[in-house]
């Protein structure tokens, strides 16, 4: 059955205009497909793609898994080559293993880097850290990307592809399977249809999946705070990450000239273990957020109080006083975390085909630079 005349139909409908959604739209548009992007917020890149640490992972974070590390290094090279215009690499990225409570010690980290073939030069711990805090300190090769610069370019490229259409402020009133295609009623837009729908809504992924009645991902949710700070002194051209456990990271935030500060313990404010993200702050969100549809945490009227005191105290306990930093602002975003049973180290991006012909695919990835994992489902 052909879609109704009043219904606009597309080769692909992409839900969510984060990096994953826009990457998919651009890629398909360049293949001359007619693509519709539906974005809930009033602009692209307003959630996780912007509000995150902006670290282009090289593998250092996985000192207990060689497979992930080696795979990360590959993604790193490709991303840095293709998106070099939004990458800031002119700073010293320092990784340190904490003396207490770390799951990895200096010798193990050194060995791991050697085996994974990634740069790791010993530095005197007393250069950056207070006496006895870290048993190993290493200069590494890792960069940061600038989401705003990336967004500008993505939008410019997309504007050159006339077959891609983006709707901001999109409210999907209903979504249903009708024979060979999916039909979506979008407020103010009417009904749109396609035989290929890509769900790239990250933290909202289960919300859409549940509306379709498909099997949700096994995830938990963390409401995360990332702090922006000025680091005018010696920290200016240095990024510091203390691992492997309940520690912190303070590093340049893209090309903005300011730093991001996060901590394993204090960045997550609230956790939800439900299939759909359920938080007590939703009640105070003035109707902008619910377990059925997440609002934008960063613009929420019931944003949590900042954990700056906690994070800054932790960082100052470790770092020498000359590596000083000051508070600028806080940003909040929701992080879905796959439960252990769903994790396959060699495939950091989880792609689920809920339905084939018509096709409904959900993509969930914990990293920016693994966006290429989408290629395999887009070329069909």
């Amino acid at each position: 059955m052909q879609p109704d005349k009043k219904i606009r139909s597309y080769d692909k409908i992409v839900i969510g205009a984060g990096l994953y959604g826009l990457y998919a739209a651009l890629k398909c548009g360049r293949m001359r497909q007619k693509v519709l992007v539906l974005e809930y917020d009033d602009g692209p890149f307003k959630r996780a793609t912007y509000i995150n640490q902006a670290r282009i992972h090289m593998g250092y974070h996985y000192p207990r898994s060689y497979a992930t590390a080696i795979k990360s290094a590959g993604y790193f090279e490709r991303f840095c080559k293709e998106f070099d215009f939004c990458i800031h690499s002119g700073f010293k990225q320092v990784y340190a293993t904490a003396t207490n409570f770390s799951w990895t010690n200096a010798a193990q980290f050194r060995r791991f880097c050697a085996a994974a073939g990634i740069m790791c030069e010993d530095v005197d711990p007393n250069r950056y850290f207070n006496d006895g805090m870290c048993d190993g300190v290493f200069l590494t090769q890792e960069y940061t990307y600038d989401a705003i610069v990336l967004k500008e370019s993505m939008l410019e490229w997309i504007s050159k592809v006339p077959s891609v259409e983006i709707v901001y402020g999109a409210r999907i009133a209903s979504i249903r399977k009708a024979d060979e295609h999916f039909e979506l009623d979008v407020a103010n837009e009417g009904t749109v249809a396609s035989d290929f729908v890509l769900n790239a809504t990250y933290a909202s992924t289960n919300q859409l999946i549940s509306r379709m009645g498909y099997e949700p991902f096994k995830i938990k949710y963390e409401l995360c705070e990332m702090i922006l700070c000025s680091a005018a002194g010696k920290l200016n051209d240095v990024g510091i990450t203390v691992m492997d456990g309940p520690f912190f990271s303070i590093m340049p935030f893209g090309m903005t000239g300011i730093h991001s500060l996060t901590s394993v313990t204090f960045t997550p404010h609230k956790t939800s273990f439900e299939t759909l993200p359920t938080f007590d702050c939703q009640k105070k969100s003035l109707g902008t957020c619910s377990p059925e549809q997440l609002g934008n945490c960063n613009e929420c009227p019931s944003r949590p109080e900042t954990a700056w005191e906690y994070m800054s105290h932790m960082a100052r306990k470790f770092m020498k006083p000359e590596y000083s930093f000051d508070y600028i602002s806080s940003m909040f975003s929701m992080k879905p975390i796959l439960k252990a049973s769903e994790i396959d180290d060699s495939r950091p991006t989880v792609i689920r085909r809920h339905s084939v012909n018509p096709t409904f695919i959900s993509v969930l990835s914990g990293k920016i630079n693994t966006v290429y994992d989408l290629d395999e489902v887009l070329t069909i």
């Binding site: 309940p246 956790t271 007590d280 954990a307 005191e309 306990k317």
Partner: protein
Amino acid sequence: MIRDREKNFVSAIVYVRNNQEQIKGFLAKLMGVLSENFEKYEIICVDDQSQDGSVRAIKDMSNDFDSTVVSIISMGYYQGRELSMNAGVDLSIGDFVFEFDSVIMDYDPSLIMQVYRHSLKEGFDIVSAAPKRVNRRSARIFYSFFNKFAKYHMVLRPETFRILSRRSINRVHSLMVSIPYRKAVYARCGLRVDTIQYMPTIARHKVRDRAVASYKSGLAMDTIVLFTDIPGWFVNIMIFGSLFAIVFFACYMLYVVYGAGQGIRLWMVASLIVSIALCGLFTCTAIIIKYLSLIEGLVFKRQKYVIESIEKIAK
């Protein structure tokens, strides 16, 4: 009434070992005091392998932890109060750190702030709260014995909690890699230290815990070996005693052989000498071995303590 709250960030480390009955009441009182007086603080409960529902009880309270962060460190196996509290202090991030060695609050909660203010206003890096009356006989014996023979004229007494400045924590850690007995190390860290005594409001009753009892007697032995002069004296006495015995018997032998002109029963005398000398030697060796094992513990053990997990309790 809105009061000016302290800007200093404080951490409170709480030692938990089979305290399911007391822990909720204790945490409620502690949070009451801290949230009234400090803008920001954290609580770290160190669970030393409780066999009862202590951890459950802490997690049950998570709804009350609205504006504060509570973490639980679970020790990998029973390691005793000293190592557990060291782990807590290592995790803490506060400008000032409270160490609560026990969750039995036999004092008025206002004493907590009294201790803090005493440290801040009078410039003491470490201030302890100590009960005036000590009920446990074993404790009384230990402390009077220890104080009599302690090196550096240290005077210790049972304490229930104390506050440490970040400066004193850094100092202590630059002095020693691992801290076998906090009180003794704090007492000789060279910074200003003081004690506030209080009259206990309730009597502590004794709980039977065999692991704790054997840990405590072991700790007492270690403390005496490390921080008193007794082993040194003992070694000296044994060495001089054996020497004296040898000389005495040598003289006696000469007298028997030459002076009295009697038949020589040399093997008897010799074996006597040898056994006495050996006895002294063995005792000294035993003490040396004890020293060595302590040194081994202090220097060579990579891991000061073994933890199983660290968990932040969120709502």
